[in-house]
Symmetry: C2
Subunit: 339 residues, 2 copies
């Protein structure tokens, strides 16, 4: 239970439980969540129901990764006393709000959602779109509003989903005649998306270009060894390009000493600095960053009972909060309730 008066802004964020998290998640969101967890009332949703919207044939994988993602959270420093970690499929009010909100959004509006349009193409769904996939912006609106979150960290491409949420919020508040639900704001990360080790725009497990948070020292070494640099930088003596050179992008993201990175960049540009040397520096940074995360992760993975307890308690807290919102909205709309 939180203290009686908790005026901190409410953040809802989380991850689809499709696989363990990787360095891209760390840079893009996990680090930020750790930094915000004291100043904000933060809820982390293990989004196993949303993961099903395009993985209905493989629920087993979705289930296994609920715990894997929870291990990742705790390993990077999410503190379960500060942050509420909860399991989406164990929160019935989220489904109840989804079914309710579906009545306040038209099919045409969902089909016009830019995020959905892009993702339908990416997944090659075309006319075989699962209805759950078309409707997932509504489910997301249910998640956000159920927690009364006012801040939702999302990638830039996901911002239309927050707009969809706020449309539903305004529609309901207008009908009810007062602000029963708060609008939410997208919190777009200031750091860009981390590319894959192969230089492709996005680090992703399915692309095989990701460094998972549980990577062993050897995995890290190997990933850095094959990492994409400047393909025209053939000899150490030649000048090299820093832009689009993944090793430098990673050094920017992970090296502690930014001045040192700037010196390295200057040296690389004018020539005389070999890829091997730069990569050694990056590897050192990554080994230093990931060693304690890997260690903590192994400890949690060895004690799943403890992690389950964390999820059980977080989910109980989240259940109370989301059911209170649903009850409040039901009453405001004038739906039937047993008294």
């Amino acid at each position: 239970m939180s203290s009686p008066i908790d005026n901190r802004p409410v953040i809802l964020t989380g991850d689809r439980t499709t696989g363990p998290l990787h360095l891209g998640h760390y840079v893009g969101s996990l680090k930020n969540r750790v930094a915000l967890q004291q100043s904000h009332r933060q809820f982390l949703l293990l989004a196993d129901m949303q993961a099903l919207t395009d993985n209905a044939r493989d629920p087993d994988r979705i289930r296994r990764n609920v715990l894997e993602v929870a291990f990742d959270y705790l390993a990077v420093g999410i503190d379960p006393l500060a942050t509420t970690i909860c399991v989406q499929s164990a929160l019935p009010a989220l489904a109840e709000l989804t079914v309710l909100y579906l009545n306040f959004v038209t099919v045409g509006r969902l089909e016009r959602n830019p995020t959905i349009k892009t993702e339908i193409q990416l997944r090659g769904f075309e006319r075989d779109i699962p209805a759950g996939f078309l409707c997932y912006p509504v489910a997301q609106a249910a998640d956000i509003t159920a927690f009364k979150a006012t801040i939702v960290p999302v990638g830039e491409d996901q911002a239309p989903l927050i707009e969809q949420t706020n449309e539903i919020v305004r529609r309901l508040n207008r009908q009810v005649g007062r602000d029963v639900l708060p609008e939410a704001e997208a919190m777009i990360p200031t750091v860009g998306r981390l590319p894959g080790v192969d230089g492709k725009a996005k680090m992703s497990k399915s692309q095989g270009n990701a460094i998972p948070l549980s990577a062993s020292p050897d995995d890290i070494r190997q990933a850095v060894r094959v990492m994409y640099t400047d393909p025209d930088h053939l000899r150490a003596a030649d000048p090299g390009k820093v832009e689009g050179n993944v090793v430098f992008t990673y050094l920017d993201a992970f090296a502690e000493d930014k001045d040192f990175v700037e010196d390295l960049k200057a040296h690389y540009r004018r020539g005389g600095l070999g890829d091997m040397v730069v990569k050694r520096h990056l590897e050192d940074s990554l080994q230093a960053l990931l060693a304690p995360i890997r260690e903590r992760r192994a400890r949690y993975a060895a004690d799943p009972g403890y992690v389950l307890d964390v999820l059980r308690q977080g989910t109980a807290t989240a259940k109370e909060r989301t059911e209170a919102t649903f009850a409040e909205l039901r009453a405001a709309l004038g739906l039937f309730t047993f008294t």
Copy 2:
């Protein structure tokens, strides 16, 4: 709680709570429900969430009619000790199953549903179809399967909805590798649909051509007085038509003495029988049918606390049953559960 072994076939039926029920409901379904409630394990769903799919702007009306429809049920002889009466919006597992099933149905399949296609036209929705309306066959599949109903009384035009349910059932059973959910069968009423008092095909409150179960003696008299007969039967002495003559359709449906009705028909056909006389017979039948229903209804309406208790108990029984189904399906699919 039902007895430990209850092998009676399970029926799920119910009504959208958009208004009090009328004689059309009585002939088409209520009478049958009363007849089946001992031989079958019967669940009656007060479908307030489904009523919202095309009444999102008027939740107040939906709420008020939850009790009104319950009064109707009890008034016609639904026995709460035999039949479980429950409120849809108070059963979270129905929403949870809906959100789950949405992943197993494509948008294209929903758009091709003949019932939905017709109803979209009827309601003039076109491109402004609420997503909840497009998805309501999935919600209905959730209702039917949550209760593990094998028999679902529906009008002929609703039969495609049962087919949609069974498609989802087969899809899930195939994925799970065993019959975790039963298929359902449509039970199509043998008596045709009761026309409105104006001769239009369907009795409907919104058309103003309905006789509600709570109709006063004067209401009944007035409804029969203006009832559509044979427009060419101008003088009593003339031969009249029985086909399409609403008074005779109603006599067929409501008069106790079928031989007497046949005699009346013959007399009317050959001439010499005035509309007034036939209407008097019909009025007598309707007054006799509705008097005890109206009386019982008034008694229940005067004691809403008792009726709320009936709904509370029925909903508790239904909650247990529907949540057990959801838990069973979750486990079978291999979704996450706290143990």
